[in-house]
Amino acid sequence: MLPLKEKDKPIVQKLLSAGCCARCVLRFCCVSVQAAYRQPQQETLKELKAFIADTENSKCQDSAGPDSRDENNKSHEAAVSDTPEDPPSKRAKLEPSVAAAQCEEEDAAAAVVRPKDDESPVCVVCLGILQELCGTIQAVKIAEAVKAESYEFDTLVLSVSLPAQLCVREHSCWLHVKKEVREKGLVFDKDDVIQVKEAFKWIMQGLVAKELGGVAVVTRSAFEVGVEFTHPQTDADCHFLATTCPDCFKPTKNKQSVFTRMAVVKALEKISDAKFLKHYPCPPTQPTSSCISQDIQCLHVSVFVAGRYNKFCRSLPQTPWVIDGERRMESSVEELIAAPILSAFRADGFNFSSSGREDVDVRTLGNGRPFAMELLNPHKARLNKVEMKKLQEIINKSSDKIRVRDLQIVTREAMSRMKEGEEEKTKTYTALVWTQKPIQREDIGFIDDIKDLTLDQKTPLRVLHRRALAVRQRVIHSMNARFLDPHHFYLGLKTQAGTYIKEFVHGDFGRTKPNLCQLLKTDTDILELDVESVDVDWPPAIPE
């Protein structure tokens, strides 16, 4: 028995004769008992027909006690096993359960040739979504898509994308029964009607869970399985809205049609009932076909991995170096690190970020530079500490140009710690400096005494083509000079992050002031540069 009351009777009557499917009738009657949607739709239809035919019965139902739901379930089971009109099985039985019986029924319903008397026309409101398009066949399709990509997950959430004209048809149907629904006293607005999406999920969640061997299908999960439906007549059904509410439908470059769900919902909020009824049939007309089920889209939320890297090579860019569409260097730091990580997490792609970056010809030594990577759509989201350690070893064995330490899984929120306060952090460097005039050991001794030297740095010419022109103040906290030969010495620097070291040494056409040329009163140039440390205390160190 369905949890319907006397006041529902005119609504049921009106909706059935308008061409609504049984489940859509339940929706407009605001039935929130999920089991009512899960039972075979032909059953529901039969019960609805019986309900409107039998006045006495419905009166009984009205006075039923709180345990009426249990009775419903019992009568439902009885109905499935006893019904003589069940369509003949087209498949060998897989298991002799209630669900199997349901499966056979869905198979039969989806088949091209159907018994004449059982044929239900495509619903004028849900366009088949709550009819043939939901059930065991759909659940098998979803489960197969998930299994095919061999995702590792504990729970999943179903998401449903419906064609935009379902909103139009829903609106038309709402206007058709608005008066009767409001008379029920509990429902005042279209939003109180059970959504197609919700009913679809009620029916599908359990079926999908079963197909995947008992995985929990929940409302919030890191793993989303998207079911998308389209309909060939979406534009035709929505077209009148574009003429009545043209400002809601502005063409956008990346969308195939202007009739997106968002735009249609917005237009329906604006349009008056009278205007809507003038341009669109109420109740909606019989569609020529049902919705089309698109490919299942699986998406796992990103996983974030962080660590520190060394770069030992002076011909390795941090990120792929492309000029005029042509690749300049064969590899990059991010690619060397990312390749083993991508395959371990079986991710589709990545976004790499780091605490600053070094030039292609600069090495990063010491404890290395903090970095973090967002892994997109990882098919495996969990690696334990031992596995992460192994992954780090794989990266380090794959190339002698780089080395990684402190590799760990982090949260999205923790990643921001790498960027915050970046300006205040310090970095230490060693530069190999050339001097035009010959120098002696004592000529460079004064450098060690310079403390907290403030530089005015104009945006270096080498990056000015892509960065704003500005004068930035940067502080060199301390320096030390180590004599090498009359034209060379090593200069150690501890600086505020963001200081351009190369420009401090050669002066950048006098655009960095003071610069080393001024300090030494001769032309100086930088031949080699190493980053010795990036003083950021994130990510936390992992003991070796």
């Binding site: 010419l461 080498r462 083509h465 704003a468 022109l469 034209h487 002066g507 006098g510």
Partner: protein, 182 residues
């Protein structure tokens, strides 16, 4: 021995200009003898306008009396301001746009031109305070201006300029003529 080695390293070490910039020249600007300009184009397409070492200002121990970026009553290159990554607001220059006028102490006046099309990013204010920079380091600290060509024109803007080799042959022909006439 030591001395020779030192001289060697001095000569071998390529300067910042050598490493990152390509030199382009315009000889006898606007038909005026020896008023040669040198454009340093960075590999990132940005151009630095400088005086070629052969420019009359740099000859015969001349000294500079004044440098003026006010090229007309209505336009001063010192007012040029660019903002943002896209360098909004920068004056757009064509090949023969004057950048500044330099007067030497012997009252001779020279106009320096942009030589290439592009957006003016900055002029060198340091040479106003210290004109000697222009005499001592014409190709680095004594630069005149920085210009950013349009991305799509970054190759074509130097088509009308001379390469270093072409310029050197122009200069050597010049000295041939001079030695013949003298």
């Amino acid at each position: 021995m030591d001395c020779v080695e030192q001289k060697d390293t001095e000569a071998k070490a390529p300067s910042v200009v050598d490493r990152y910039y390509t030199r382009w020249y315009r000889a006898d600007m606007k038909g005026k003898a020896c008023e040669d300009h040198c454009i340093l184009q960075h590999s990132n397409r940005l151009c630095v306008v400088t005086l070629a070492e052969t420019h009359p200002i740099l000859q015969n121990g001349r000294t500079i009396k004044s440098i003026n970026y006010q090229i007309s009553t209505g336009c001063s290159r010192l007012n040029n301001k660019v903002s943002g990554k896209s360098k909004r607001g920068g004056q757009f220059l064509t090949d023969f746009a004057p950048l500044c006028r330099i007067t030497c102490s012997d009252e001779t006046e020279y106009t320096i031109y942009s030589c290439i099309r592009g957006r003016l990013l900055e002029v060198n204010e340091n040479i106003l305070e210290t004109p000697n920079l222009l005499m001592e380091k014409p190709s680095t600290e004594g630069y005149i201006a920085v210009i950013l060509p349009k991305f799509e024109e970054s190759k074509s803007i130097t088509e009308n300029l001379l390469t270093r080799e072409e310029f050197e042959s122009v200069v050597s022909k010049r000295s041939d003529v001079q030695s013949q006439t003298s």
